[in-house]
Amino acid sequence: MANLTLVQAINLALVQEMEKDDRVLLLGEDVGLNGGVFRVTEGLQKRFGDHRVVDTPLAESGIIGTSIGLAMAGLRPVPEIQFEGFLGPAYDQLCSHAARMRTRTRGGLTVPLTVRVPVGGGIHAPELHSDSPEAIYIHQPGLKVVMPSSPYDAKGLLIACLRDPDPCIFFEPKRIYRAFREEVPEDEYVLPIGVARTVCEGDDLTVVSWGASVVQCMQAIEASNRSVELIDLRTLYPFDMDAVERSVKKTGRCVIVHEAPKTAGFGGEIAARIMERCFLHLEAPVQRVAGFDTIMPYYKLELEYLPDTERIGKAIEETVAY
C-alpha cells in the first residue's frame, strides 16, 4: 500500500497500464515535457518516450479525432483535455464519432478510448475551467462517464476505463486532486464501471452524490445528528440505480448533491428514477442541492455557487423533518 493523492493514484494507474500494454499511449496539450497542466502525467514522457507520451498542438477536435482513429485501428489512446470547458471543440468528435461507431458498424469497429478530463470548481479558476458538464455526455448514448471521488477509486476506475472496449470519459475532480491522501494498493486492481460505493450507512436519509461533492457531503453528514447513508455513484453512465433504490427504500428520503447547474442536471434524472422505483416508499420529496442556473462564477463567488456543508446540512434537516 502507498499513501497517495488522487493525482498520484492516476499517475500510477497510467504507468502500470503502459508498462503492461504497449497499445496504450497518451496524447494532449503539455502532457509530455511539462507533465500535464495539473502534473498528472509527470515523468511519463521520460519513462516511456515521446512516441508514447505525445505533446500535441492546442487542438481539441484534432486530438480527440486523431485518438478515435488510433482507437479504431486497435490502439488504446488516452488523450487529456486540460479543462472540462475545452471539451466543447471536441464535442463533435466525441458525440458524432466515438459514441456511435459501435452501433454504426454493428460492433465491427469499437473505440477503446479514455478521455481524461479535469472537472469542476473549487480551485479559484474562472468559468470554462470550473464547470461540471457531465450531464451533456451522460445524455449521449454510447459514451461511458466516470467520476471518482477518492484516490483508491480513481486508480481502480481508470484501469477499468483503459481496459474497456467502449469510449470512456474519465472526469477527474480537480478540487480534490491533492486535497487528501488515501491508502492505495500498489498492485493493479479494477473497480467495475457502473457500480456505486456506499460511503457510509444510515437509516434516516440517503444522500446521492459524485465527484468532489462527495467530500462536502461527508463533512455535512459528520456535522449532522442524523443517521445518513451516502452513496457515491462513481460511474454516471451506466449508473447504479439499484444501489440508490435499495438505499432509498430503506430510508424513505433522499437528497441529491452535484456541482452542475440544477436545471437538467443529472440529479433530475436520479430523482425521476427514484419516483419511478420508490414512490410508495418515499416519506418526503426528493431534494436537490446543486449549482445555480448561472455561468460558473469567478473565484470570489465560487464557494457561494458550489454545494457546501451548510446547504447540504440544511437539505438533510428539511427532508428528515418533512
Binding site: 512516441h51 500535441t56 477536435s61 479525432g65 486523431t66 468528435q93 464519432h97 469497429l109
Partner: protein, 370 residues
C-alpha cells in the same frame, strides 16, 4: 507545388500509347473498367431503389467520380487504411465490399455491412480496411490522421520496424473549410504522419460553387503548404492518370512517412443528394464534363489498344448488371432487423428493457466491492 501531373497527357485522355501512361497489366486495366462499371450500375440501381422508397434517409450518388475511388484504391496496398465522407458507395465497392452488403445496408437490412444500422453514409468494411463513411463534413479528417498515426505506431513502436503504410483520407472540396481539417493537417505535418488527404474536388459544396465558398479555390493545395504538406493537383476523370499519379504520391509518402494533399479534380454527374434540383449549375456545364466520362475514356483506350472489343465490353457490362441485380434481390430477401436490435451494439454489454434493465447488465450483476 510539386505536382506529378503532366498536363500534356492529363487532358489528352487515351491518345498516348498505354505503355507510356501506365505500368498496369491488361488484367488490372480490365479490372478497373469492371470496378467503374460496377459502381456506375450500382449507383443507377441505388437511385431507382431510393425512388422506390427501399432506401431511407439521404443518399449521395458517386456517378462521374468513379475514376477517383478506383484509381486511388489501386494505387495503394490493401492493408493501407481508407476513410471517407458520406459519398462513399464507390469507395466501398472499389475496396472490395460485396455490392450485396452495400445495398442491404442502404435497405436497412440485417445483411448490410453494418447490419443495416449505418445506412448510405456509413459504409464500413474492417476486413477491407475501410473505416467509413462519415456524415459530418470534414470531421473524418482527424480520423484519417489517427488511422495513419496508428499504422506508424504499430510499425515502429509495437513491431520495432520502419513505418511502411499510408492512409487515404478522402474529403470533398466543401470540407476544406471545416476547422477539424486544419487541426488534422497540423497534427499530420507536425508528427510526420503518412496520411494523404484527397480532396475530391467536384466543384460544389452541395449547391455552392467552390469559388463562392472557398478562398484560393484556384489553388487548393496552398491549404496544405502552411502545414508543410506537399500538394499535388491531379486530373481525376481518367483512372489511368489517377492511379499512376496517386501511386507516385503514395510511394513517396510511404518512403518518407510524410503527409500529402491532393486536389483531385472531378465532377459529380448527379446532384449533391437525391433531392437536389441542381439549380446552381447549367446543363451546358454538365454536358462538358459528361463528355469526359471516365468509363468511356478507359473503354476507348482499351479498345484502341486492342485489349477489349465492343462485344467483350458489352459482356462485361452485362456481367456487372447481373451482379447488381442479384445484390438487390439479396438485399430485398435479407431479414428486417428485430426490435431487440435497438438495444444491441450501443455498449459492449447488452442493455435495455428486453433484458429487464434500463442499463447495461454489468450494473445489476456486480456488487459493490469495497
Amino acid at each position: 507545388m510539386s505536382s506529378l501531373s503532366d498536363p500534356a497527357h492529363a487532358t489528352t485522355g487515351g491518345r498516348r500509347p498505354l505503355a507510356d501512361r501506365t505500368s498496369a497489366t491488361p488484367d488490372e486495366l480490365l479490372d478497373w473498367l469492371r470496378q467503374m462499371l460496377l459502381i456506375r450500375e450500382f449507383e443507377v440501381r441505388t437511385m431507382q431503389a431510393y425512388q422506390d422508397k427501399k432506401i431511407g434517409g439521404f443518399c449521395h450518388i458517386y456517378i462521374g467520380q468513379e475514376a477517383v475511388a478506383v484509381g486511388c484504391t489501386a494505387a495503394v496496398q490493401h492493408a493501407d487504411p481508407i476513410v471517407t465522407a458520406y459519398r462513399d458507395h464507390g469507395h466501398a465497392l472499389a475496396r472490395g465490399m460485396d455490392p450485396k452488403y452495400c445495398m442491404a445496408e442502404m435497405f436497412g437490412k440485417i445483411g448490410g455491412c453494418a447490419k443495416g444500422k449505418g445506412g448510405s453514409m456509413h459504409m464500413f468494411d474492417k476486413p477491407n480496411n475501410l473505416y467509413g463513411g462519415h456524415g459530418i463534413v470534414g470531421a473524418q479528417t482527424p480520423l484519417g490522421t489517427g488511422l495513419a498515426f496508428a499504422t506508424k505506431y504499430i510499425d515502429e513502436v509495437i513491431e520495432g520496424g520502419k513505418s511502411r503504410h499510408v492512409a487515404l483520407c478522402f474529403l470533398g472540396d466543401g470540407a476544406v473549410n471545416q476547422g477539424a481539417f486544419y487541426e488534422a493537417k497540423n497534427l499530420a505535418g507536425l508528427f510526420h504522419i503518412p496520411v494523404i488527404f484527397i480532396v475530391e474536388n467536384n466543384g460544389y459544396s452541395m449547391g455552392t460553387a467552390i469559388h463562392r465558398g472557398t478562398t484560393m479555390s484556384h489553388r487548393l493545395i496552398s491549404k496544405g503548404e502552411a502545414f508543410g504538406i506537399d500538394g499535388y493537383e491531379i486530373e481525376g476523370m481518367d483512372v489511368i492518370d489517377v492511379q499512376r499519379e496517386m501511386k507516385a504520391v503514395a510511394d513517396k509518402c510511404r518512403e518518407t512517412s510524410r503527409p500529402a494533399m491532393v486536389d483531385m479534380k472531378t465532377y459529380r454527374f448527379k446532384g449533391h443528394s437525391m433531392s437536389d434540383p441542381r439549380k446552381y449549375r447549367t446543363r451546358e456545364e454538365e454536358e462538358v464534363w459528361e463528355a469526359g466520362d471516365p468509363i468511356t475514356r478507359l473503354r476507348d483506350a482499351l479498345i484502341e489498344e486492342g485489349l477489349i472489343d465492343d462485344a467483350a465490353f458489352k459482356a462485361l457490362n452485362r456481367e456487372v448488371k447481373l451482379q447488381v441485380r442479384s445484390s438487390i434481390e439479396w438485399a430485398d430477401a435479407s431479414p428486417e432487423p428485430d426490435i431487440t436490435e435497438l438495444f444491441t451494439d450501443v455498449y459492449v454489454e447488452k442493455f435495455g428493457p428486453y433484458l429487464g434493465t434500463s442499463m447495461p447488465q454489468i450494473v445489476t450483476d456486480q456488487e459493490n466491492d469495497r
